[in-house]
Symmetry: C2
């Protein structure tokens, strides 16, 4: 078996990559397991330097990476150049987070038995990157960068939507890591669906990071749950991200529609944070306004794979079959590639009930629009939504009383609440949370973007009455890594 690389704009073939054999998967996993203790024992500052080296390598190869990524994804060179820089920035960020050391949670109690708690890396991590962010969430994306930062070697699976880019990224990163002095096999790569299954079943694999569809994420979660030693699966899958327009903001509906179109058509609607449902007050003719804005924007979505393009077309039909009215479908000019329509589907709010297709994600540049009569109906609809990654509230400003109520309420349902901006766009910073309640993710307390991403790949260990010289560095009396610590209940931050 091979993974064929296609050009989404034409359906033509870029090349192909052979699937990894079972033996090749074993070898990659074993090599990662051999490297694991060394990677875990080194100071986080050393691993930061490795990640910086990979970041530098990405930027040095920017033009070639963009060209290859564009040939495989059709996401456009401007967006992809930004994504290379984002990937490089992320690598440096997770390295800096690692070196700062708070993630180790170093804690010492000296009053009773001497207890010294610190976190230890779990071991080799399997990373399944996303189709839609070939760089930011790819072979050297958030999961890989945060796992290595936390002290875990990674075996990544090449994405079938961009197998050539996956290979190039892995080769580039391995060369940079090697030059930076990292042990062999801090990063491995396997290719093919069976290789991915074998990877998760490998006893040495200690955790899984995944970004993609609910079907894919839950399949890996089930495989992991059937292992003799069950391991955590951090699957970021996404559902329908709602946007709620308050009564007071209704007068701005035309302007809101333009913003919404920009957000739900971004990257051909292939964002896990795409706003998939607009809830607007009754009487603003929201669907009409959004349709109008969509016609003006005239997007021409080209999807990442033929399967995704087919799923978009099927999805629009399913939304209509479930009771939606197709207000507009902007069809790209006929081409030989994997194009798909951009569409607005209007629906009566009472049809938004659990189990309906209308409340399931429709990947692509498709939005469902409903109007609510009053706060009671609005809240009833919100209660019926699945947990989501993000939600937006469109308000009339800080004096809008509905805004405060909605921001608090949506905080109970999603991982990120945005006011007067769109949910697409996830900064990699200290305060970011890119996660959300089941089934948006399989681990709602985990984030795949931001400083908290490291927390997924470690577990605490407490050392009781262990002589100082035997302790891991973060909890030695001298604090050689100069990490923030809690000593007898008091936080101490090195300056």
């Amino acid at each position: 078996m091979t993974q064929v690389s296609y050009d989404p704009r034409t359906g033509g073939i870029n090349g192909e990559v052979g699937d990894s054999t079972a033996e090749e998967v074993r070898a990659a996993v074993r090599a990662a397991a051999v490297a694991a203790p060394t990677v875990a024992a080194l100071s986080p500052a050393v691993r930061r330097d490795w990640l910086v080296a990979v970041a530098d390598a990405l930027e040095s190869d920017l033009d070639a990476l963009v060209a290859l990524a564009d040939a495989e994804t059709a996401l456009g060179t401007a967006r992809l150049a930004g994504e290379v820089q984002r990937a490089a920035g992320q690598l440096r960020f997770y390295g800096a987070v690692a070196a700062e050391g708070s993630w180790l949670g170093a804690t010492l109690d000296t009053a009773g038995p001497h207890l010294a708690r610190t976190k230890v890396p779990l071991g080799p991590v399997a990373v399944f990157g996303a189709s839609n962010f070939p760089l930011g969430f790819g072979v050297v994306g958030n999961d890989t960068a945060s796992a290595i930062a936390a002290g875990c070697p990674v075996v990544a699976k090449a994405h079938p939507a961009h197998p050539l880019l996956s290979e190039r990224l892995a080769a580039l990163a391995r060369a940079a890591l090697s030059t930076a002095g990292a042990p062999e096999s801090v990063l491995g790569l396997v290719t093919g669906q069976q290789a991915g299954v074998d990877l998760v079943r490998s006893p040495e694999i200690a955790a899984v990071g995944f970004t993609g569809s609910q079907a894919g994420g839950l399949a890996l979660w089930r495989i992991a749950n059937e292992r003799e030693v069950v391991i955590p699966v951090y699957a970021e899958m996404g559902t329908v991200n709602p946007v709620v327009v308050t009564q007071a903001a209704a007068s701005r509906m035309a302007e809101i529609a333009v913003g919404l179109v920009g957000s739900f058509t971004l990257g051909s609607g292939q964002f896990c944070t795409k706003p998939g449902l607009l809830l607007a007050p009754r009487g603003v003719d929201a669907a009409h306004e959004v349709a109008q804005a969509l016609r003006s924007a005239a997007p021409a979505p080209v999807m990442l794979t033929s399967a995704i393009a087919a799923a978009v077309r099927a999805g629009v039909e399913e939304l209509v079959a479930a009771g939606g009215r197709l207000v507009v479908a902007v069809e790209p000019a006929p081409g030989s590639g994997w194009d798909a329509p951009a569409a607005v589907v209007e629906v009566d709010a009472h049809r938004l009930v659990p189990g309906s297709r209308l409340l399931e994600e429709c990947f692509g540049a498709v939005v469902v629009v409903a109007e609510y009569d009053d706060p009671t109906e609005r809240d009833a609809v919100l209660d019926r939504l699945q947990g989501a990654l993000a939600a937006s509230v469109v308000t009339d400003g800080p004096d809008d009383p509905e805004g405060a109520v909605l921001a608090r309420r949506l905080g109970g349902q999603v991982g990120r609440v945005v006011v007067d901006d769109w949910p697409t766009g996830v900064a990699y910073t200290w305060a970011q949370h890119h996660g959300g309640p089941w089934p948006a993710t399989s681990a709602p307390a985990a984030t795949s973007v931001g400083a908290g991403a490291l927390d997924r790949f470690v577990r605490p260990v407490t050392f009781q009455d262990v002589p100082d010289a035997w302790l891991p560095e973060p909890v030695r009396a001298a604090n050689p890594w100069r990490v923030p610590r809690r000593v007898d209940g008091v936080l101490e931050v090195p300056r």
Copy 2:
């Protein structure tokens, strides 16, 4: 159906408690769900005051609680009085941890979009307490105290080994909570096995805390995984906790044996941290020494339930059938209660292989003893052990070279490494970790004892560009709760 309360010393009946009906479970869960938003929104200092009120109530009722607990568990009045005080101390500790506020992980980024990350309570938590710590891990034990501290109402399930105590504890706590101004139903109680299943299946339940057997914990984990919305199950189950004696410590074998007997017979061997396997250097006659010490100690184990007593007898037979040699079984004087032998089983190290009964937990005052030829055989045996809650290393002091190696190695296999002391005894402090790799627990990054216990019942939410007045208190500019925060990457600790 009813839960019959037995006196383990005689097998006599103390009384009985009727099982909760399905409607009663629904009512308890609904009441908790109604209380949840209020409990979550209040300042942690308010919840601390509630927990202090419960602690005070426990101490005021100490004599009656001890008498009732002793009648149902036979754990002895001295131990049980200590456990009441421990439960009270824990309640106060988790309250103080909540009020300190670090667990909220409040984080602000102001350079790009304004991102404000804080943790929010998950919602109602189902708590399944332990048979063996009716107070410390019971209806108002670690799980309940840490869940309420974190802002989650609790519905506890009465333990069948002490249903009357469970009822009394719930009534006592509810009265104290009510007097302290807590909303109704911060703590509910249900009784009966089916009620427990119904509880975990209830859509409003957001997480499960469990302490007990592997069979029980994994059953709840499976039920939770079959829900439409899967929820986390924090099951602390325990496996075989190993004790390794270094070559240099071998000369102290007689003294070590006395200490080991004290630890593995404590509470009739009914500790999840009971040392279940002693690995000593070849030639020290370890099994004989331990047998000698056990005869001198002459314990008379009375087990918590007739099922546990029967399981101890069966377990010793199974260990022998798996290749162990019964060196000594100290039988209590014949009684009509649920007595069981205390036993030492010797085994050749090469028989300690995965899948063998010899490497599975045998609850009760039973220890398996093996001798290793050299570090290679010692490490081979350690490699074959399941993940465990705790391990002890018995050394010749800080200059013992084997100690450092073993402490680091065992840190990769267990949740807590103890040097020159026994694993039984788990202090509730900031640096404690009471957890461990699968299958010792279902969630190796979680702890059921210590400050980290709160982390199980919250998830992060990021608020993006949300007006200050709409934000949760921990991330408002004025920091009204005075919690430690990270602002633009820098930790700030209020003084």
